[in-house]
C-alpha cells in the first residue's frame, strides 16, 4: 500500500525517494540497513561477518546479534569503507535512492514488504544536492526516522551547535540537521513528543515533519502551516499524506475521517500492543 501511495506522487518528478518499513524483528537481534557501491557483493560481506543478509538492489539488511553490534560496526568501518550504515533498529529497514519514486520503489521491492507501519517520501531538493544521501528518510536513531517537506533556514547554525554536542553529519542537508536535533534531544533524555515540541522553538523555517519510531509515528507542522498535510483515520489504520491523492487507494478511504493536522501541534499515533 505504501508503494501505491508513493507511486501516485511519481508525477511530482524524478528527484529521489525513500522509505522506512517497520517489519518483523527478532529478539536479541538488531537490523542494520547497509548501502554499498553499485553491484557490491553483499553475500561476501555477510559471509565474512557471519550474519544473515537480505539484499535489495544497492541496499542490504543484515541481522546481527545485539551483543556483536559494536564489533560488527567497527569491522564494517575498517574492512568495508565503501559501505554505509543507513539505519539501525530492531524492526526498521530504510531504503532510499535517486530516480522516479515508482522506480525507486520497484528497485527495492517495496510492494512486497510488510510491517506495522511505514513512511515514504518523494523529494524535490531545495537545500542540498540530489543524491542518495540527501534523500529522505533520515535515520535519527535506533528504529527512528524523519521525513520533511519544507526548508529550514537555521540549519547551518544548528548543525554547528549539534556538532559541538558530538553529533555527526554526512551532508549539507537541512533535514539531516532536523533529524540530528531530534536524535540529540532523545539522547539527552527527552521523549519524542518533547523533542518535537523543542523543535518548534529551535528550528526556524517551514516544515511538515513525519517521524517514525518502533511503535508508531508522529506529525508536526510549523506554526504557519506552510506545507500541506492530510490525515485519514479509520478504525483500522491512520494514514498521512501531503495530499489526498496519495491516500485514495487505501481501503475504506471513502469512510475515513479526513482532516488536516493543526499547525504547531504535536501528533503521535502508537500501535496498540
Amino acid at each position: 500500500m505504501t508503494a501505491s501511495m508513493l507511486e501516485v506522487l511519481t508525477g511530482r518528478g524524478p528527484d529521489s525517494a525513500g522509505f522506512a518499513v517497520y517489519g518483523a524483528g527478532a529478539d536479541g537481534f538488531t537490523k542494520l540497513t547497509l548501502r554499498g557501491p553499485k553491484d557490491f557483493d553483499f553475500s561476501a560481506l555477510a559471509h565474512a561477518l557471519q550474519v544473515q543478509v537480505t539484499v535489495r538492489d544497492d541496499h542490504a539488511v543484515i541481522s546481527v546479534p545485539v551483543a556483536r553490534e559494536a564489533e560488527l560496526r567497527q569491522n564494517l568501518a575498517e574492512n568495508f569503507p565503501g559501505v554505509a550504515i543507513v539505519a539501525a533498529g530492531s524492526r526498521m529497514e530504510l531504503f532510499k535512492g535517486v530516480g522516479l519514486p515508482a522506480d525507486v520503489s520497484k528497485r527495492f521491492g517495496l510492494a512486497g514488504m510488510s510491517g506495522s507501519h511505514a513512511i515514504a517520501h518523494t523529494r524535490m531538493a531545495t537545500e542540498s544536492a540530489v543524491t542518495t544521501q540527501g534523500a529522505h528518510p533520515f535515520s535519527t536513531g535506533p528504529d527512528q526516522c524523519l521525513v520533511h517537506n519544507g526548508s529550514l533556514s537555521n540549519h547551518n547554525d544548528m548543525r554547528r551547535l549539534l556538532m559541538r554536542e558530538n553529533m555527526s553529519f554526512e551532508t549539507q542537508n537541512d533535514t539531516e540537521v532536523a533529524a540530528g536535533f531530534l536524535s540529540w534531544k532523545l539522547r539527552e533524555g527527552a521523549k519524542l513528543d518533547e523533542a518535537l515540541t523543542a523543535a518548534l522553538d529551535s528550528l526556524d523555517g517551514f516544515y511538515t515533519f513525519v517521524v517514525g519510531t518502533q511503535t508508531g509515528f508522529g506529525v508536526l507542522r510549523d506554526p504557519v502551516a506552510c506545507k500541506p498535510a492530510v490525515m485519514a483515520e479509520t478504525d483500522d489504520y491512520v494514514a498521512f499524506g501531503s495530499e489526498y491523492r496519495a491516500l485514495v487507494d487505501l481501503p475504506g478511504i471513502s469512510k475515513a475521517h479526513l482532516f488536516e493536522p493543526e499547525p504547531a501541534k504535536v501528533y503521535f499515533w502508537e500501535r496498540a500492543a
Binding site: 502551516a225 500541506p228 495530499e243 489526498y244 491523492r245 485514495v248 479526513l258 482532516f259 488536516e260 499547525p263
Partner: protein, 239 residues
C-alpha cells in the same frame, strides 16, 4: 469525443469519468463549450483528489464533482455553478470571477484566494488563509476557518459561522468579515466595527444565498482600522 464523455440526452447530465479519461480531456471539453450550449449539466466521476478539476470554465453550466478534489478546483471560474461532493484541496475557487462554487465537505488552505467575484460556499471547515487577498468574492464558511484568513483581503465578504483562527484579517483592506463564533486573534489593522443596517442587510442576503438559517444578531463584523494605508512617520524606525 473522448471515451470518458457520455453524451447527454435531453435534461440529462453529461457524465465524465476521470477513472477512464484524463483530466485534460474534461477541462478541454468544458473550455470548448459555448454560452448557448445545451450541455448545461455535467457530472464528474472519480476525481480521486486530482488537481485543477473544472478550472477556467467561462459558461453558465452546472458541474457536480462526485468526490474529493485536489488543488485549485474550480479555479478562475467565470459563471459556472460547481459543486464538490467531498473535500477540496488548497486553493479551491482561486481567482473566481463569477458563478458559484459549493464544497460539501471541508476545504484546505487558501480557499477563494484572490477571487474577484462569485459565491463560494463551504459546508465544512476551511483551513488557513481562507479568502487570502480576496478582491470581491463572497465566501460563506459554515464551519470554522484557520489562521491568517482574509489576509490582505481587498473587497468582498467573508462570512464564518464557526470560529476564526489566529490573525484574522491581517493587513486588511476593505473586505468585510462576519464571524458568529470566537476569533482566536485579530491580525494587524483588523478591528471590530459597529454593524450598520447596511451590513446587516448584506449579511442577511449572503446567508440566504448560501441557504443558511442564522440570526444576523449573533454575528460580529470586522474591518480595516485603516492605519496601514498611509506612511506614518512614527513607524519609520520599523523599516
Amino acid at each position: 469525443m473522448s471515451s470518458a464523455l457520455k453524451p447527454a440526452a435531453r435534461n440529462e447530465a453529461v457524465l465524465f469519468d476521470l477513472a477512464v479519461d484524463k483530466l485534460r480531456g474534461l477541462n478541454a471539453a468544458l473550455a470548448a463549450l459555448v454560452p448557448q450550449t445545451n450541455q448545461t449539466s455535467w457530472r464528474v466521476l472519480n476525481p480521486r483528489g486530482e488537481h485543477a478539476v473544472a478550472v477556467g470554465v467561462t459558461v453558465p453550466v452546472e458541474i457536480t464533482i462526485d468526490g474529493h478534489v485536489g488543488y485549485y478546483c474550480a479555479g478562475m471560474n467565470d459563471g459556472a455553478v460547481i459543486t464538490v461532493e467531498g473535500n477540496a484541496g488548497p486553493g479551491v475557487a482561486e481567482n473566481m470571477m463569477s458563478g458559484t462554487v459549493h464544497v460539501r465537505g471541508d476545504a484546505s488552505q487558501a480557499a477563494g484566494a484572490t477571487a474577484h467575484g462569485g459565491l463560494l460556499i463551504i459546508d465544512g471547515n476551511a483551513s488557513a488563509r481562507c479568502g487570502i487577498s480576496m478582491k470581491g468574492i463572497d465566501i460563506v464558511v459554515k464551519g470554522s476557518v484557520g489562521h491568517m484568513s482574509a489576509f490582505m483581503a481587498q473587497s468582498g465578504n467573508l462570512v464564518i459561522l464557526g470560529d476564526a483562527g489566529e490573525a484574522l484579517g491581517d493587513s486588511l483592506y476593505e473586505a468585510r468579515i462576519f464571524v458568529r463564533g470566537k476569533v482566536a486573534s485579530l491580525g494587524a489593522d483588523c478591528e471590530e466595527k459597529p454593524m450598520t443596517e447596511g451590513d446587516a442587510a448584506l449579511l442577511t442576503g449572503l446567508l440566504k444565498r448560501a441557504g443558511v438559517t442564522a440570526e444576523v444578531a449573533e454575528f460580529k463584523i470586522y474591518g480595516s482600522a485603516r492605519t496601514l494605508y498611509h506612511f506614518h512617520v512614527d513607524n519609520a524606525g520599523a523599516y
